[in-house]
Amino acid sequence: MSEDVHALVGAYALGAVDDVERLVFERHLAQCADCQGELPSLLAAVAKLGGAQLATPPAQLRASVMARVARTTQLAPLTAPSGHRRRSGLSRVLAVAASIAVVLGIGGVAVEQQRLVHERDRSDRIAAVASDPDKRTRVMPVVGGGTAEITDAGGAALVSLRGLPTAPDNRTYQLWKKLPDDSVVSLGVLGRSPSKTTFVDNLGNSTALAVTIERDGGADQPTTTPTVVMPL
């Protein structure tokens, strides 16, 4: 398994990995000195593939970019010196949050800290599901076209919907979880053409996930028959 991950370094440098594989590799990279040594020169080679053609940018593009930049806040610098290994996800996050706190003022700290902890934690948990040796993966057809792939492990799941027909105007796909008492809870809307992998956690004792098509903005309870049901 670890040999597999090392071998991804070329594909990763080329961007030839999907969102989940990217996270799994980045998690590995944080702990692998060999990969850290190899990656920069491969990225430099890849950059040469793309950097060798020039196109003259239209003048209005410059104006648009400058206008957007004028109203875009920059990320605050990281306080931990670069090149140091991450000790624990949380300590690194807190270091970043502390530096942002200086910029935002005390009031902003709790919100930023929470958001950062949430993001860091989330990508760690996504990688954890994908690398769990006991994970289950199933693929099933979706009514109307396309497939749903679900990988679940440790109370969390990754759901990938592929090739689904675009929902009609004013309608959207919505994801639900079903509980043992048959009640149904919304996990959010997926848009008219879901294409990204959705991460779901806190599955607890949920018995299934399901997808329906609902009105734009989503419904409180499903109003249509599911196009796919994924038993857990």
Binding site: A7, G10, A16, S41, K48, G51, T56, P57, V65
Partner: protein, 202 residues
């Protein structure tokens, strides 16, 4: 010849100075400190390459401009994240650009829009701003072309399908009917060979 009101007369004709290529690593460091003048220098130095790359991957000119714009704004937003020990400023920016272009290609693919879109062939790029730049890019272009030519067919095809079309290694394996382990290995050893041929510095 009189100068404009208030400005000194020039007795000696201006000698045109060759454009100085700024060290982008230094410029980016200034940008990280919110230096907007430095950002304008960065934009002028880098946008032609970012746009050129977006066009190569996306083909469609207006989509390429959208992505190029997002990339340059992202460079401003995350300039503090640039870490010189991990590579040059140009590599960092072109890596962001490629990632955005590929994300865009893949989401267009998911929408099925790609099949419907008429393939827009790259029109000959508008004239370069300086002869020096044009020559430099032609040389680099030649160098890349030659080095790609030194790869095995499988190395070159996997790299080109991934880089210029945004395919994942799994999709490349399906397209070329090659086992996944082999695709990963060829991407890696192909890039190593490319790197050595191009003589890239970090």
């Amino acid at each position: 010849m009189t100068g404009r009101e208030g400005s000194p007369l020039r007795l000696v004709p201006d000698v045109p100075t060759p454009p100085v290529t700024p060290d982008l690593d230094d410029v980016l460091r200034l940008v990280a400190r919110s230096d907007e003048a430095a950002y304008e220098v960065l934009y002028d130095a880098v946008m032609p390459r970012v746009l050129g790359m977006a066009r190569r991957v996306l083909r469609d000119p207006s989509m390429s401009e959208e992505v190029a714009q997002e990339v340059l704004v992202e460079v401003w937003r995350s300039a503090t994240r640039f870490d010189r020990s991990k590579g040059s400023a140009m590599t960092w920016m072109l890596t962001i650009a490629h990632r955005r272009a590929v994300d865009r290609v893949r989401s267009e693919q998911a929408l099925g829009a790609r099949e419907e879109r008429v393939a827009v062939r790259d029109a000959a790029a508008a004239p370069f701003d300086s002869v020096a730049e044009e020559v430099e890019t032609r040389l680099e272009h030649e160098q890349v072309r030659l080095c790609l030519g030194g790869l095995t067919d499988l190395q070159r095809e996997s790299i080109e399908l991934a880089y210029y079309k945004g395919y994942t290694y799994k999709q490349v394996g399906e397209l070329l009917d090659v086992p996944l382990g082999t695709v990963k290995a060829r991407m890696r050893d192909g890039l190593v060979r490319l790197r050595d041929c191009l003589g890239v510095e970090r």
